[in-house]
């Protein structure tokens, strides 16, 4: 089949990126690509223009694709050629000088043009440019400003937005006395509110830039060159050079003249298609769902969707608009901004902190528990977390203070930029910031690829967020998304809800049947335990147990140690034991030469260093059920003395712990479950930092806390509800646990699950039954409780051949 002709008008960041994405999807085989660029070179990073102006970058440093790149990829580039017309009926593009190109598909990526406010004296009387008046949009503008600025005294920038301040920073480089003119009363009005703008203004003035607010320019003075400005309030300001940076507007002239639908930008649908099915548009010239974007992140997203559609590699791809959080540096001052800058609806919650002397300002706007706006000035350490919460619309912690500050966090959690290269990011595997950077430079660009290659984040996992941030930093914010990040397990390409649906629809009850039906028969070993855990949750007693799908601990019901021996921990509900049990444990320890006896953190006794082949005999001699101190499941319920003997006790915590253990023993879950009961709010059993904790309070009541942790991660649990009996504690915590089992990602502990879903939502579902699933959750939990068996019974009835053999004899 002959190749289709694809013409791209615009060789800026959007046009070139769209072409790169098309090439990455094999588009070179489908399309003969022609590009038009008004500027006479390959494309460059427009964001860095101010660095060129201020001299910190040479022009050639900011080129993304040199001319040779176009040649290499067989792209015909008309550089320095301005398109004058789109002839839609003839499917042709006509350029100045009579050049005509035919197209089957056309992409308009004309970007934006400077917005010039109405004022007198902008040009010379004959209409030509007035010497000393500039806009700030491209490399040529930079060159002109540089050439003119030498030896001049005062430069003025009209426009106190981001672009204007960037221009002002550039002008400072020419030893000019720099003034900024802001029409309204606050600079950077898009990103900042009044107080933040005032703080930034002060900071800028400390750097020698004079900021005039509430000054509306009426005229540029000077007959044959700029001599000053005149404002509407009658005042004047003398100057030698003016840069107009009052904003941008979508460059839509070509599209408009061709009769393509244009409002504030070229109107496109979710496929970046205009109202002409052959014509597409991307970047700053586009209006999508009423929104015109002037930032780079939405443009990357649009380019991907456009390329996927054009090449037919993903016919489902769609652009749904961007929620953009920006992070920038204005003259060395760090600023992060997202969403709205002022509370706008009743009930909007504002969390604010000001330390004007240090130039620090933080403000967050929260609506229905979610972040809808934020400003960070001076200290932007929380920006990565907040940006993510904003962009993904996730619930924010109830503890609002923690949104603004890392209280008690080590000070080295400073910005990644300033982190030394040799700083260890992953403390389990000793991976430094430098090692991660090296890996990214070596070509790995997704979190998963970098983590697998460096092993960062693959130990206890507590550093995963930081590791991801460092990877993102190393990738310059353009980390490749790993599709498997959304799968329940990497080896089966389905999210958890999709996977559950498929498992139930097909009646898949064993791990191997899931691989056969849903992964083409390829068994990914790392995916096996996660699948087993889910199948147990879904099928309870009907689950078909294939032991090879389980981690070794769950095959031999003990916890493997570094030397290949195991630990044996018998059940000891609530940490209560007896003289007889202790004697038996002591006898077993003697008989099997157990090298170490240790009290665990879960109020039990650990026989450490038991040989694998001794396990069945140890269990038999103990005559106690397994304490399940291995595997991703219910582990233990700690308790304090409670009302039994304690003079402060308000509730029977030991009795409750015994009932908790009897109900949830052996229960499989996405992560470990460590529980506790406390007889009074003194919390001696640390119930506030458990996956589920019950605390007795005055009046015969129990508070139930969920999502607490005190391991690699420390978090106080959220109060789920207050109930008035042991039975109610069992019922509500069981319902919560079932909801967690069904909805958490594999290995996602409750301390991550609860804040991710939000305690309000969990309380609505579990306590108030907002989704009318409480009865079903209770039944599912009861079914799992009924499916309990003591795996140590396998001492007499092994589940597999040679289950406890370490070394098999040779049989000839």
């Amino acid at each position: 089949m002959a190749k289709q002709k694809l013409v791209v008008i615009g060789n800026g960041m959007a046009g070139a990126r769209a072409v790169e994405e098309i090439l990455a999807r094999g588009g070179a085989d489908q399309f003969e690509i022609t590009m038009f660029g008004e500027e006479p070179y390959g494309n460059y990073n427009r964001i860095l223009l101010s660095d060129v102006l201020n001299g910190s970058h040479e022009a050639e440093d900011i080129f993304l694709n040199p001319l040779a790149w176009y040649e290499e990829h067989g792209i015909k580039l008309h550089a320095g050629v301005k398109v004058s017309k789109i002839l839609r009926h003839a499917q042709q593009v006509e350029a100045e000088g009579g050049l005509v190109e035919h197209y089957d598909r056309l992409i308009i990526a004309t970007g934006s043009v400077p917005f010039i406010p109405v004022m007198d004296g902008l040009t010379l009387p004959d209409g030509s440019d007035k010497p000393g008046v500039f806009v700030f949009r491209n490399l040529e503008d930079c060159r002109k400003i540089t050439a003119y600025a030498m030896g001049k005294k005062r430069g003025v920038v009209i426009g106190g937005g981001l672009l204007g301040l960037e221009a002002a920073r550039g002008l400072q480089n020419f030893s000019l006395d720099v003034h900024v003119i802001q029409r309204g009363n606050a600079i950077m009005g898009q990103q900042l509110d009044g107080p933040a703008a005032a703080i930034l203004k002060k900071t800028l003035e400390g750097l020698g830039i004079v900021v005039h607010t509430n000054k509306d320019t009426r005229a540029i003075r000077g007959h044959d060159h700029v001599t000053g400005l005149e404002f509407k309030d009658g005042t004047r300001l003398g100057c030698d050079l003016v840069v107009i940076a009052a904003g941008i507007k979508a460059n839509t002239g070509l599209a408009l003249r061709a009769g393509v639908a244009v409002e504030r930008g070229i109107v496109v649908d979710n496929h970046l298609c205009t109202d002409d099915p052959r014509i597409f548009a991307v970047g700053e010239c586009v209006q999508h769902r009423g929104q015109v974007y002037g930032l780079v992140a939405p443009l990357w997203e649009q380019a991907k969707v456009l390329a996927a559609r054009l090449t037919g590699t993903d016919t489902e791809a769609a652009y749904h608009g961007s929620k953009v959080a920006t992070k920038l540096k204005v003259m060395g001052v760090e600023v992060a901004s997202m969403g709205i800058t002022e509370a706008s609806e009743e009930g909007d919650e504002v969390v604010q902190f000001t330390e004007a002397k240090k130039g620090t300002y933080k403000k967050l706007i929260i609506r229905n528990g979610r972040l809808v706006g934020g400003i960070l000035l001076g200290d932007i350490r929380k920006a990565p977390y907040l940006s993510q919460a904003y962009e993904q619309n996730t619930p924010v912690p109830e503890e609002r203070l923690s949104l603004l500050f890392d209280i008690g966090a080590p000070s080295e959690e400073a910005s990644i930029d300033s982190m030394p290269s040799e700083m260890q990011v992953c403390n389990c595997n000793g991976v430094t910031k430098g090692a991660i950077l090296g890996c990214v430079k070596g070509g790995k660009r997704s979190s998963k690829a970098v983590m697998e290659s460096t092993r960062a984040g693959m130990g206890c996992g507590a550093c995963k967020v930081l590791v991801s941030q460092v990877i993102d930093w190393a990738c310059g914010g353009a980390t490749d998304e790993d599709p498997s990040a959304h799968f329940y397990v990497p080896g089966v390409p389905l999210t958890k809800p999709e996977l559950i649906e498929a498992i139930m629809a097909l009646g898949l009850k064993s791990v191997s049947s899931v691989f056969d039906a849903l992964a083409g028969g390829t068994e990914d070993p790392g995916s096996k335990p996660g699948l087993a855990s889910l199948l147990i949750t879904l099928w309870a007693d009907e689950y078909v147990d294939e032991r090879d799908a389980r981690f070794i601990n769950d095959r031999v019901h003990a916890n493997i140690q570094k030397d290949g021996t195991f630990t044996v921990i018998p059940q000891m509900p609530g940490g209560v034991t007896s003289a007889a049990d202790l004697r038996r444990i002591a006898d077993v320890a003697d008989k099997y030469h157990v090298p170490l006896l240790k009290l665990t953190g879960g109020q039990r006794i650990d026989l450490v260093g038991v040989k694998r082949e001794d396990l069945p005999n140890v269990w038999r001699d103990l005559g106690m059920p397994s304490g399940f101190a291995y595997g991703k499941r219910y582990r233990t319920c700690k308790s304090c003395i409670g009302t039994e003997y304690c003079r402060f006790g308000l509730g029977d915590s030991m009795g409750l712990a015994r009932k908790v253990e009897a109900r949830f023993q052996g229960l499989d879950a996405p992560g470990k479950l460590k529980l506790a009961t406390a007889g009074c709010p003194r919390n001696c059993s640390e119930a506030l930092v458990k996956d589920v904790g019950a605390v007795a309070v005055e009046g015969g009541k129990w508070e139930i806390y969920v999502g607490g942790a005190a391991g690699a991660h420390v978090r106080k649990g959220d109060l789920l509800c207050v109930v008035d009996s042991h039975e109610a504690v069992l019922k509500l915590s069981g319902r919560f646990l079932q909801y967690y089992r069904e909805n958490a990602r594999y290995l996602e502990r409750t301390y991550a699950f609860v804040p991710r879903v939000g305690i309000d939502k969990i309380r609505a579902v579990v306590v108030e039954d907002s989704e009318r699933i409480a009865e079903r959750l209770d039944q599912a939990m009861q079914r799992s409780v009924d499916a309990y068996f003591d795996p140590w019974q396998e001492a007499t009835t092994p589940a597999t051949v040679n289950q406890f053999a370490e070394l098999l004899p040779i049989v000839q």
Binding site: M458, G491, T522, E546, R547
Partner: protein, 104 residues
Amino acid sequence: MEVTLGPISAIPEGEGRSFQVGAAQIAVFRGRNGGVFATQAECPHKRGPLADGLLGSGTLICPLHSLKFNLITGQAETGDCALETYPARLNDAGLIMVDLRTAP
């Protein structure tokens, strides 16, 4: 030298077990699809018992620190260490045959 280790039925499907062959220990794995693999018994990383690992289609994850190995080449996917692997097969009687030419 190809040695006979014993009946494949001594190893549960999808799992591995170790055998003492002279001075060396050899781990043998029985894939669910009928494949048989043989490697050195201890993980080169921190001496984890590989026979206790998680077996996939031609790959294995060590039980101690989750290093993942290719059972054909022996190469670790996540680190730069490698396993000694040995050609293995079943004979007509269902006995495990391992070629230990390269064994220590």
